[in-house]
């Protein structure tokens, strides 16, 4: 092309968030979030809503703070020494960083699925039953069986493993292990599911299965997903948030972000240009 853009001054270029970071009646709302790892600031003044029953994709280059932000949503960063989180986080209007909030209970309401499938070295059944047992969700064995079966069904894994529920979860294929982890998350009836690159270690078929599952899960849960795959973000989410150097650059309807982003940095990232 004839015109060549001058390299934008990144810090000046990100002046507030472009697009629509807020929604009506959000499931989770966050305001003015700053995160520090020791002296190093990882997130700068991020304000973002996560709508009810929506899939929101958090995208951005490595080190942009998207995973850090995601981990704030169920206080996973509490476990990291030297990490301090400030700002407002609400789940259905309720402040999740107040002292009275038990992080363990919070994480049952806001579950998480990680990049690498991490089933417990236990049977498939016990992997799923672990959470409900811990939280006392089942009164007896029959109820527990029902939770395990329905969770495996919702995760689209039941038909493949129903004859070997007592076999170790670590013996499953990568895609099956990830679905087992999703079943384990669902088993404690969360309201929100956070997914940190859930399909990056999977082949295209297993990835397609997980994406199909995300679409189904949206009926019952709110989902925030961090992904490095632009196509995946475009396929599974309704809204997309683009992070850059710890700042929230742009949030918008996914269809719009991938066809007509408003910010040059978003454009550069999703089209694979030098930022």
């Amino acid at each position: 092309m004839t015109q060549v853009a001058e390299a934008p001054d990144i810090h000046q270029a990100i002046d507030g968030t472009v697009g629509s970071p807020f929604t009506d009646k959000p499931k989770m709302s966050t305001r003015n979030v700053d995160v520090f790892y020791g002296d190093k600031q990882a997130i700068f003044d991020v304000s973002l809503d996560i709508g009810n029953h929506e899939v929101i994709a958090l995208i951005g280059p490595s080190g942009c703070g998207k995973s850090t932000y995601l981990r704030c949503l169920n206080r996973m960063n509490d476990t990291i020494p030297g990490c301090s989180v400030t700002g407002e986080f609400r789940l259905d209007e309720e402040d999740i960083y107040v002292k009275s909030m038990d992080p363990v209970l919070l994480r049952a309401r806001v579950g998480m699925v990680f990049q690498k499938p991490n089933p417990f070295p236990k049977s498939i059944y016990d992997n799923v039953a672990y959470g409900p047992k811990l939280h006392g969700l089942a009164g007896n064995r029959a109820e527990l069986d029902e939770i395990v079966v329905s969770s495996l069904q919702k995760a689209g894994l039941y038909e493949e493993v129903k004859d070997r529920l007592n076999v170790s979860g670590t013996g499953l294929s990568g895609g099956q292990q990830q679905r087992l982890c999703i079943a384990r998350t669902i088993a404690v009836s969360p309201e929100v599911i956070l997914m940190d690159e859930p399909a990056s270690a999977l082949d295209p078929i297993a990835t397609a299965t997980i994406e199909e599952l995300i679409d189904e899960l949206r009926q019952n849960y709110t989902i925030a997903i961090v992904t490095h795959s632009m196509q995946q973000a475009a396929r599974v989410s309704q809204r997309t948030a683009y992070f850059h150097l710890g700042k929230l650059v742009e949030v918008g309807d996914t269809n719009q972000i991938f066809t007509n982003p408003q910010h040059q940095l978003t454009e550069n990232y999703i089209t694979g240009r030098f930022g």
Binding site: P261, T266, G272
Partner: protein, 238 residues
């Protein structure tokens, strides 16, 4: 949105080259089509059956280019899964070359008509009214292709605006030809041929307008098809 449409800044050099290449192919196709329209019109107005023959027999080149460019675009979609401005560029090219191919078909029709009218020993003066419309359409096609090459939204909008005049000219020619036919029924056959030429030219104007609309989509990310020029401007000011 006013993000820059830089094709040369991808991390993948090969992707830069692929986009640049397919864009150049589309521009070349535009150049060839423009030449065919110009020659077709010239053949018609000068009753030059040789030139008419040449235009009518070269449409295959335009068709072949369309197929080639479509294939390149398909490969880019498959390999690169382009997004944002890259996606809009590929989509605009796919749409533009469809219109260019149809313009090529209309130019072919002009060539064929030139041969037939010349065979009838029709005096070029009988369809001198086509000259003005023809020049206008040629200019419009040229401006549309220019706006596409320079990705110039302003120029595209200006070009779209001229299409109203073109429609008026076409209507005027139609009325004039009807009069001619009523006055001298022996001229009906030729008058109809001339009318078909006017129709072809008017269609070329419409296709040029489409190309301008793709330029707006490419640069601004807004789909301005099937809306009035005022709505278009209002949409772009948002």
């Amino acid at each position: 949105m006013d993000t820059d449409l830089n094709l040369t800044q991808h991390i993948s050099h090969r992707f830069n080259e692929e986009l640049e290449e397919v864009r150049n192919m589309a521009l070349n196709m535009g150049g060839l089509v423009e030449k065919h329209v110009s020659d077709g019109l010239k053949a018609l107005l000068k009753a030059d059956s040789k030139l008419g023959e040449k235009v009518a027999s070269s449409d295959y080149k335009v068709n072949a280019m369309e197929v080639d460019i479509d294939e390149q675009c398909t490969l880019i979609l498959a390999r690169r899964q382009p997004a944002a401005s890259d996606l809009r560029l590929v989509v605009s090219i796919i749409k533009t070359i469809t219109d260019l191919e149809r313009i090529g078909d209309e130019a072919e029709q002009l060539g064929i008509a030139a041969i037939k009218l010349a065979d009838q020993n029709t005096k070029p003066s009988q369809f001198v009214e086509l000259r003005h419309l023809g020049e206008h359409v040629k200019g419009m096609l040229h401006d549309a292709l220019d706006a596409f090459a320079r990705m110039d939204v302003e120029a595209a909008l200006e070009t779209i605006q001229t299409s109203t005049i073109l429609n008026e000219e076409y209507d005027a020619i139609s009325r004039q030809l009807i009069l001619q036919m009523m006055e001298d029924p022996r001229q009906i056959k030729n008058a109809l041929r001339v009318h078909w030429c006017a129709r072809s030219l008017e269609r070329i104007g419409d296709h040029s307008e489409n190309i301008c609309e793709y330029v707006v989509y490419l640069v601004k990310g807004r789909d301005v098809r099937h809306v009035s020029i005022d709505e278009m401007k209002a949409e772009l000011e948002d």
